[in-house]
């Protein structure tokens, strides 16, 4: 799970940087009178990074901790 989320984070951030490097015209496209597509894209990287963090906490609190405490109990018995 950690590794999958790390991979998503890589795609999100380095994808954004590479997109700017490779296709500048696309990022510079206007979506309003002056606003460029790059502005919501940059904001989306920040929000996306936070959502990945929240997804991890959600998974760890619900699944990982339950599994870990079950394993700890088993260790104590033996």
């Amino acid at each position: 799970m950690s590794l999958a989320l790390t991979a998503l984070l890589f795609i999100l951030y380095y994808g954004y940087i590479l997109l700017i490097a490779v296709d500048r015209a696309f990022v510079s496209r206007r979506i309003g009178t002056a606003t460029t597509l790059g502005i919501p894209l940059g904001a989306a990287v920040i929000v996306g990074a936070w959502i990945l963090t929240a997804a991890y906490v959600f998974w760890a609190n619900r699944q990982y901790d339950t599994e870990a405490s079950r394993l700890r109990d088993r260790l104590r018995i033996h």
Binding site: S2, L3, L5, T6, L9, L12, Y13, Y14, Y16, I17, L18, I20, A21, V22, R24, V27, S28, R30, G32, T33, A34, T35, T36, G38, I39, G42, A43, V45, I46, V47, A49, W50, L52, T53, A54, Y56, V57, A60, N61, D65, A68, L71, R72, L75
Partner: protein
């Protein structure tokens, strides 16, 4: 517009004294609860996740990110926004890879984790060198920045400004240890988030609360190019290298890592990263609006005339929209920002010197609580004095690259040793020493040979190393040297203790 920047104003001085008075009162209270090493280094492990989330944000968001990024956006438009995203993306990585194992395995420093199943003395010394180098580069940039900023804002002499920051910060750390440092960072984070939120609301109120009206005003004044990517990502390899340093550097910053020992357990560490990422993400989302607002309303010409680097963009827009009292408030917030970061760095430096070098490398773990606390205070004083002296010696030098260097060393030396020690059974003492030594050395050498120093400071015609950011080379080399040195030597003890370590890493069995 007329500006009172550079002259002391009544409101500025009042806010400034108010912050110093409140934080010193907190320190006085904290000093009475700071007796054991656990209290001095880790606030008794009694900090709640929300408090630690705020303190992490306060430890991380430096004046460079507040004034620097607002200025970068004001002067260079969209490029500043690309840069801002890089400062956030390390936080999820810190959560996924390091935060919980670090909390479960360590006691006070990241070296506790690296040295967990390895030979104490060499690993402690190597980790301490990596840690202290990172902290010194970082604190040097902070001190020079502090001197310049306070001179610009209050008109105080540079040397006095550096001494003043050093003196107040030492009072926090010497007497109040981690408890005082944590509360100074919490107060600073709240003030900074509040101040920047107010600034954003003031800016947007001039544009009928429509960001697109703000962007139109920027485009009308400085052309559509202000909203398009400019020179920052012109070289994608360099941009990725900067991104790597910012992302993985965070995972090797000693002053950030040691904050995880202030919470009761791994679950609390996890929750505190979520809070911190929320606060820091919010900050980097809205700070470009302040920068664009300064561009549209104050104008790039005036911002550049007052400070060529653009650092005064946020104070200037504050004065324009909220008058002298609001400028005084924002200036005091910038001052609190510097104090909180420098206090965190000094505490981390002192902990490294006393816990890793004195207690474990010199005394082999045999030192009484009293001795350790005494040495920790001496180390605090030593690190603080070195920070002030460095700040004064480097007066007038361009040291902005020092923060980049700190992140490069952290990403190339501290992070590889930390990660490999957690995940790889075959990792051993030789590997840890090799990873830290090669990563740190290569980062420093490559920065010296890069355009930043070789061409801009030493005035050579062409750089030996073409990139401004070395991490894309130095980080893989740090990992590679760690792996090769481990494979070349055998350390059966380290391998056999890996199973115990795993129980503690992933299940928290035996964690302090």
């Amino acid at each position: 517009m007329q500006t009172t920047l550079g002259t002391p104003t009544l409101s500025g001085i009042l806010f400034f004294l108010g912050i110093v008075a409140v934080t010193l009162a907190v320190t006085y209270w904290a000093a009475r609860h700071t007796r054991s090493t656990k209290e001095f280094y880790a606030a008794g492990r009694s900090i709640s996740p929300l408090q630690n989330g705020l303190a992490l944000a306060g430890d991380y968001m430096s004046a460079a990110s507040f004034l620097g990024i607002a200025g970068l956006v004001a002067l260079r438009g969209y490029d500043g926004m690309i840069y801002a995203t890089g400062w956030l993306v390390g936080w999820p990585a810190l959560m996924f890879l390091i935060a919980e194992p670090l909390r479960n395995l360590g006691q006070f420093t990241f070296a506790d984790v690296v040295a967990f199943r390895l030979r104490q003395v060499p690993v402690r010394i190597a980790s301490a060198i990596g840690g202290i180098l990172t902290l010194l580069f970082y604190v040097l940039a902070q001190m020079v920045g502090a001197g310049n900023l306070i001179t610009l804002m209050f008109g105080l002499r540079y040397e006095w400004a550096v001494l003043c920051v050093g003196g107040v910060m030492l009072a926090y750390v010497l007497f109040g240890g981690m408890i005082a440092t944590t509360w100074v960072q919490i107060i600073k984070a709240i003030l900074l988030l509040f101040g920047v939120t107010l600034l954003t609301i003031f800016v947007l109120s001039r544009f009928q609360f429509s960001p697109s009206a703000l962007y139109e005003a920027v485009a009308a004044r400085y052309g559509q190019s202000a909203l398009e990517p400019g020179g920052l990502v012109s070289d994608p390899v360099d941009a990725i290298s900067l991104g790597l340093a910012l992302m993985f550097g965070l995972l090797g910053l000693p002053h950030i890592l040691m904050r995880f020992y202030t919470v009761p357990d791994a679950r609390a560490a996890r929750t505190s990263v979520l809070y911190a990422t929320g606060f820091i993400g919010y900050f980097y989302l809205i700070i470009p609006i302040v920068g664009f607002g300064a561009s549209a309303l104050v104008g790039r010409e005036l911002i550049r005339r007052i400070d060529a680097g653009g650092n005064m963009a946020a104070p200037l827009i504050a004065e324009l929209l909220g008058g002298t009292p609001f400028l005084g408030f924002i200036a005091a917030v910038a001052f609190a920002t510097i104090l909180a970061v420098v206090a965190g760095l000094t505490l981390a430096g002192a902990t490294t010197l006393s816990h890793d070098i004195f207690t474990h490398a010199i005394r082999k773990g045999n030192a009484t609580e009293r001795e350790q606390i005494r040495i920790a205070r001496v180390a605090t004083l030593a690190f603080g004095v070195v920070a002030v002296v460095l700040g004064i010696v480097f007066k007038g030098q361009n040291v902005a690259f020092m923060v980049g260097l700190a992140f490069a060393v952290a990403a190339s030396a501290n992070f590889p040793a930390l990660l490999l020690s957690i995940v790889w059974r075959r990792f051993n003492t030789a590997g840890a020493v090799a990873a830290i030594a090669s990563g740190a050395l290569l980062s420093v050498v490559l920065i010296i040979l890069s355009p930043t120093i070789w061409v801009d400071l030493l005035h050579n015609p062409a750089p030996v190393f073409p990139l401004r950011n070395p991490a894309i080379v130095s980080m893989p080399v740090g990992f590679l040297c760690g792996v090769l040195a481990s494979l070349a030597t055998r350390e059966p003890d380290a391998e056999s203790r890996f199973d115990d370590e795993k129980l503690r890493t992933y299940l928290g069995v035996g964690a302090e």
